[in-house]
Symmetry: C2
Subunit: 329 residues, 2 copies
Amino acid sequence: MPTIDEIAKICKVSKTTVSRVLNNHPYVSEEKRKKILDVIKELDYSPNYLAKHLRARKTRTLALSVPTVDHPFFGQLIKGISNEAFQKGYKVLICQTFYKKKNELEMMSLLKNKEIDGVILGALENEWPTIEPYLAYGPILLCNEYHENASIPIICYDEFEAGYKAVKHLIEKGHQKIGFCFDTSYSQAQGQRMKGFLKALSEANLQVKEEWIFDGAFTIKDGFNIFNKLHNLNEKPTALFTGNDQVAAGIIKKAILNDYKVPEDLAIIGYDNQLICQVTAPTITTIGIPIIELGNQSVQKILSYIEQGEEVKREMIQLPTKLIVREST
Amino acid sequence: MPTIDEIAKICKVSKTTVSRVLNNHPYVSEEKRKKILDVIKELDYSPNYLAKHLRARKTRTLALSVPTVDHPFFGQLIKGISNEAFQKGYKVLICQTFYKKKNELEMMSLLKNKEIDGVILGALENEWPTIEPYLAYGPILLCNEYHENASIPIICYDEFEAGYKAVKHLIEKGHQKIGFCFDTSYSQAQGQRMKGFLKALSEANLQVKEEWIFDGAFTIKDGFNIFNKLHNLNEKPTALFTGNDQVAAGIIKKAILNDYKVPEDLAIIGYDNQLICQVTAPTITTIGIPIIELGNQSVQKILSYIEQGEEVKREMIQLPTKLIVREST
DNA sequence: CTGAAAGCGCTAACAC
DNA sequence: GTGTTAGCGCTTTCAG
């Protein structure tokens, strides 16, 4: 790969001039510009990323953390964020936390290394005080997560209201024994969702039993396991707010195999409105989330901080969700 | 963020010495090493990625192309590849082609820019001659794809044999009218798969009708559409090799809704052995692919080229697949 | 309009 | 053991 110096030498100009045509500066004679452009094309020259950005002290790449990439929700989130970033001329480095604090911190240190210009947290593993110091190195933003003390922009949706309306729907369907699932990361977002769940229950003078609350709910397989636990309970819930369509699908499958009638014996409500909701039997009632919009807004917000060079401040953008009723409730 | 110079100044040593302790070189007095380490920790110093790698002329990052990230197969592939690369101290930049030649070339140019050290193609959109020149800038490797002329390592599995055994299974189940689906990218890998399909048919003296071959088969929704097309046919196939579990799930759902008996009226075989195979009713017969292994081997192979600095050469590693029989056939 | 020179932050000969 | 110096490839003053 030729360097800018070689181009300059061949064109018998200084590298300054080459740099100027590369960056579309004015004040270069048409003649030289043309010649330089020709040689650039001929030698198939392309400027060195590392050198260019070392000089500019920025990288035009963002990092995005997710628990794992092979989950439909996060797959779509990544897709949305990558597209939007790409259109603005930024690249996205995907970092999987696998629910480990350590992996999250390793990503944060990319910010210190100047390897990235900003971080979008699609998950939050560490306590906020652990993350906060990294703000000194670049903007950080929470997407699809929530934290009460985080002094950064939060792009999310109203998890409380989503939890509330899901459970309210189950209650209206006549259920009194309602369970809840959350994934391994007990995030504040899921805490909010649970508060909504509890509010709906208490409004109807209902109680939860502790054994109706299941954790580790993320995949179809987790759904299988949760069903097994539920099935072994003496007093079983008759409805479950699973917080995740994959989990819902897994539970439904096992329930049907064990001669439960869904939704009569066990009503199930998912979360995310993934396509899988439409292929199970019965189909899955769920909460629809504007994933792409979540991604777009996150990118726009973080880029505005990066490009203005302002200090991030706490602000919260909540996107609307909707209840989508199908056969499982 | 402090630089190496500041550390040096504070410790009253040259930056060479600081660099030496940073890189664990010998020949630094214990005393100075200790002092330097202390100051580094105190100032929370961390070396600048851009500067370090500009100097070293490498980036320790790989690019991986996939059609789109929000598809279970590619999600798992990304996960496997990222993990393996990460363990070896490399980062991976995910690039989505969305089946566009242009996007693929944009990724290839990262190699020219020295923004990445190597490329793993998880999809192949352009013709091989278009890609080949980029070999001058770094190693390229095909993963989960196949191309007869590509002079690079190919980590794949025997698509021909997979197609053959899938269709053979359908024939053994008594089917004579068997259809085939492929996704929008008519890759050579899928070509191989189709050859296996055709071989099995011809061995049994069976014919395909052109209208039994469906393209655009990638998602659950595509499965819905394909079912609709099939349903409108005068002469319908009684079995379908869908090439994809999501598509299989979509077709099965619509078929059941339209009072087909699966597998009696329409047998369906998927591809990939995703968890979704286990939650549909009926469950899906499929071909199991060693996705993680595919990723591991790809990373190991490309890193060996990057680190040895050798020219890549054609070599093919084929991993085994297996037929997993469930209720849909 | 154009070029010389400085410098982004780091590593590695090479000398001492 | 340690420091001086050059240079990775680029952009940007500043002077002409």
